[in-house]
Symmetry: C2
Subunit: 371 residues, 2 copies
């Protein structure tokens, strides 16, 4: 683990850069808004922890009523279980025997779920769970439009559900129906249409499984871009949004519908101006190793005529509006990452700021958990 | 630090994925080729360790004659000094007082260099070096075409050189003249022209500084795309290539001149097929958190009709050529990263393979060293 970039009680000026900083007021607003919007709906909230990889944040979500969390990797799940999170759904297919064994071992001390989209894995999961002496909760993943993993909706899921229900050590829980591609559709009507179709597919599949005599209590899915649609779908029973705790520049590009809740940016990369070689250029100390660029460059927070135009490994080039003053050497710049999840994964620590003071420093315990 | 993905002596099948794997035969070929091509030239080889962040690799470079290494961050330098590397040049401007203090402390036990492009930093560096009781080697960075940090070439560097030479605790060593933008110019003649211009600028600047009565023994720079040009420039005295140890998909896009040495790909992300939902699609377990995408998606090594077409956080979508067999669940896929440096920074371990066996597992000790 790398050096802690700040200490509790530090003023902003003492935070070493580049640092991953959370504005706690905005962050808590986001947590409360989601918790309140799901509470009373009859649906479970199971936020995705791949966005934050941070047990302190998972605990804050559970404290507000989340039933547990989602992870994508077995080693992520292990980090959260070790930190006391008692209910983790790995929203992914796990096929390697060593990983299946670790997953099954976790199920001795926590409620652990996992996805399946291939008949050949069920026997391995069952054997591992039986050997470990626990029960794995298993969900069939159906492809509702993301075109990634998952079997086709409808009848294709039935043999899988049956096999899981019959397998020792496994409990069939229901369907994983996450439409990742819908999250970043820019217009509300596009997202509405996508989730309406996903909901129909999930409903058809649930009906087919139940016609086969297998109970299918859970339909889980949804993300930050669409969760209100799944909540109101009458078929989803559990919501998995992750990015809402932080938001990012890419989610800012989604047009919101009038009734859609607004989450605030709470996540920043705090950078420092390390060179001002010409009046139209300032260089900051945050580049490709401090920010993810898959969704474009970061936005510069608080308009001051600066645009982040180019990154190299450890440098960011800011273009300075000629009508504005150039930042000075040593000035701090707040950057809104293009994509929060892979940006968070670059850091060992999240610095929580309340106004101008450091209130907490949280380990990103599952940072780099690839296995 | 995350779980070690393999143990020494393991067969390939036991390596957990995604894993960062180095083909040791290709890697050693690259190290030897560079060492031999610089040896006898009169120039020093100071490879850039930002590419590998790994003390074991730095030691292999020094064992082959490198005078030391380059780093970009103070905490990177600290990791290498702690591992026994005695000579580190931080090829970057360091302006934060806490970082300057740490850098100066390192200079008590190692030869430490740093760049300056702003008069205001020199007093801070001098005070910190004096307080620590060491000497910092200081280089003036000139902008020879990268348009990032650095003062203009020529007379602008003279006052900086003078001030450094006169400052207690500092030793003026020369010029940093790295043309980053030239490394990825695709045609040999473009690179030739760029480095010819950079060399003229470096020569003019050195002459101006020496006319002012300040010795300027070192001109340091160059990267994997152009180092033969700087080597033969008659003005550069030290070469800083980094990526040559690994190579990547982006360097593969450079056309080579007939006399240009060929480095082999030695770095791979080993991934596993975790889902085969349709005949034309296979999903691997390496996405945005296992590969850097700033230079595009990875190439699939050994053509077998697979193309990596889309990434999400923890998934990669491979398109399968309909005329070829679909890979099977659990199959291994070797991916050549688009850009090696930020990809390496995602991993805690490098797995060194000799043929089909794990020969070594090296910690990426400076992974995430942002400060």
């Amino acid at each position: 683990m790398q050096r802690v970039p700040a200490r509790i009680g530090d003023p902003l000026a003492a935070v070493e850069t580049p640092a991953l900083v959370v504005d706690l007021d905005a962050f808590e607003h986001n947590l409360d808004l989601m918790a309140n919007a799901v509470r009373g709906s009859g649906l479970a909230l199971r936020p995705h922890a791949k966005s934050h990889k941070c047990p302190d944040i998972a605990k804050a979500q559970v404290a507000r009523g989340a039933v547990g969390i989602c992870c994508q990797k077995v080693d992520e799940a292990a980090a959260f279980v070790a930190a006391g999170i008692a209910n983790v759904l790995v929203t992914n297919e796990i096929v390697a025997p060593a990983k299946i064994a670790r997953l099954a071992a976790l199920a001795r001390s926590a409620t652990i779920g996992v996805l399946v989209d291939d008949m050949r894995v069920i026997a391995d999961l069952s054997a591992a769970a039986s050997l470990a002496g626990g029960t794995l909760h298993v969900y069939v993943e159906i492809d509702v439009g993301a075109h990634r993993c998952g079997v086709a909706s409808g009848e294709a899921a039935v043999p899988l559900a049956r096999a899981i229900a019959a397998a020792p050590g496994l409990a069939f829980r229901g369907l994983h129906a996450y439409h990742g591609a819908a999250q970043h559709l820019r217009r509300p009507e596009q997202r509405l249409e996508a989730i309406a179709a996903a909901s129909r597919q999930a409903a058809d599949t649930k009906a087919a499984i139940e016609r086969a005599g297998v109970a299918c209590p859970v339909v889980t899915g949804a993300g930050t871009g669409t969760w209100q649609l799944e909540r109101d779908s009458r078929i989803y029973t559990e919501l998995q949004p992750g990015s809402y705790v932080f938001m990012d520049a890419d989610y800012l590009r989604n047009a919101l519908s009038p009734d859609q809740h607004h989450f605030e940016h709470s996540l920043y990369v705090l950078a420092t101006v390390m060179s001002t070689p010409t009046p139209e250029r300032a260089i900051v100390d945050a580049g490709l190793k401090a920010l993810a660029f898959d969704s474009g460059p970061p936005l510069v927070h608080v308009a001051r005529g600066l645009e982040y135009v180019k990154a190299s490994d450890e440098h960011g080039v800011l273009e300075v509006d000629p009508k504005r003053a150039q930042p000075a050497l040593g000035d701090r710049v707040w950057l809104i990452p293009g994509h929060c999840d892979p940006t968070v994964n670059l850091y060992d620590w999240i610095v929580g700021m309340r106004g101008e003071r450091v209130e907490c420093v949280w380990p990103v315990a599952a940072r780099g958990a690839l296995g």
